[in-house]
């Protein structure tokens, strides 16, 4: 199946894009998608533990089961004010 990961703020600079498409095996979980993304873009790895992830329009835990066409959002914390 194919999913899209939308990247926000500082993550966009890490890959020079605001979204990445991933091909994943059936039954893949959110954590598998993130690991697949990190394997392709090692520069993002240090940010991953502090990021919030959502599937569609809702927060999702790492074991959330993905479906074909899902849109994942990966949102790092931002401190500016």
């Amino acid at each position: 199946m194919r999913v899209t990961v939308r990247l926000f703020s500082v993550l966009r600079r890490g890959v020079d894009a605001d979204a990445v498409a991933l091909e994943l095996p059936e039954g893949a979980r959110l954590r598998d998608a993130i690991e697949s993304l990190l394997a392709r873009h090692e520069a993002l790895r240090p940010y991953a533990p502090s990021c919030m992830a959502a599937v569609g329009l809702e927060y999702a835990p790492p074991d959330h089961e993905l479906r074909d066409g899902d849109e994942i959002s990966l949102i790092p914390p931002v401190s500016g004010g």
Partner: protein, 479 residues
Amino acid sequence: MVKILIPTPLRPFTGRQAEVEVEGTTVGEAMTALTTRYPELKRHLYSNEGKLRSFVNLFVGDEDVRHQQGEATALAAGTVLSIVPSIAGGAPEPLARPTSVLNKEEIARYSRHLIMPEVGMDGQRRLKNASVLLIGTGGLGAPLGLYLAAAGVGRIGLVDFDVVDASNLQRQVIHGTKDIGRKKLDSARDRIADVNPNVRIETHEVMFTSENALGIAKDYDIIIDGTDNFPTRYLVNDVCVLLGKPNVYGSIFRFEGQASVFWAAHGPCYRCLYPEPPPPGLVPSCAEGGVLGVLPGVIGTIQATEAIKLILGQGEPLIGRLMLYDALSMRIRELKLRKDPHCPICGENPTIRELIDYVEFCGVVPHHEEALSKDLTIEPEELRQKLERGDRFVLLDVRNPEEWEICRIEGAKLLPLPDLPARVVELDSADELILYCKMGGRSAQALEFLRGAGFRKVRNLSGGILAWADEIDSAMPVY
């Protein structure tokens, strides 16, 4: 007779009645009686096809009628039927009571508020009786202070210890050119007093810390997070959870902003969203990464809007929702959040019961470059002498190309920190290397990386190019 409880957003349609008594033996009959008496209510509760709208929940006692017989659910005499719009976390009661009195000047000033049913005299009195604490009077604090004062919030507390710098004026619209060098609190107080002299301003010229935070925050209805660093953001969150107060959150980076209302009694807190702070230095601040000047205007006014709604008890608060604003694509996204049952401070078994050391929690080592031992740093004067003598060494600028365009030290080579791992092969570990960035933090990271890669003759310019401009080259523009 059956009693129907009307939620705040629907009270304008029941002549302000919070409770209405009607005849009816089923939910359907009672609702028909209600909407016959108050026809305006009908289109808010029912679709054109006469079906109850999906966001309207009806409860008999504490049971949702969907789990009973729907509109056919029987009602005994004296039963209480509640109409509950499905708002994440529920619609909290107004935070302030309408006890203040408005004088003639205030009635004229707030007239555009007073003629709207959602505010009215009652709401404006609530605003006057309300108190808000702004942590930070920078990019977010500037529009917050101006709009909350203009709206008539009676008491505004400001926490800051900074002075106005020329580089603030591109976004911190509460301060002016004449204020450069003044304390931000003095500048903000003068401007707020001009916008609305009715506002009581309380200034707290301190760094917000675990030692003073509870004492400062306890006297305010709402806490607004307009800080610029992670330790203070976690501190503000924990203070709000421990005191049971709402935390109106906003944060900005370059062209993007986030906003939410964290209120543990009604929804998730900041730690539910971000349990773990990022490693220090990884997420740049506005000073390092830059920020579009109008961005804090957008996010700060969203925070001000949410604070005013909480005071009035009107509308749907941004509780349990994270708003993401992207100025470049001009897109707004909204993500539903979830309260984390394992949250260390607002979860079912909290492990944080008092304020902690937030600097340590975020792993921040203040003045990164000072942690480097003396033989790994070079002072600007020594660098000047080396350049003058024509010593053989490589001067490496690890800032971004945009910063290089503003100013640079003559003879330097640009190699931005993010590109360093890929381009390290361009460097020779036999050469003597001197690194610099804006203030010394990023070049210290570059130095650590290079030492790990086997470079031994590498030093860091103490204080970065700002120190160079200050001590050696006063004609250099700084940013």
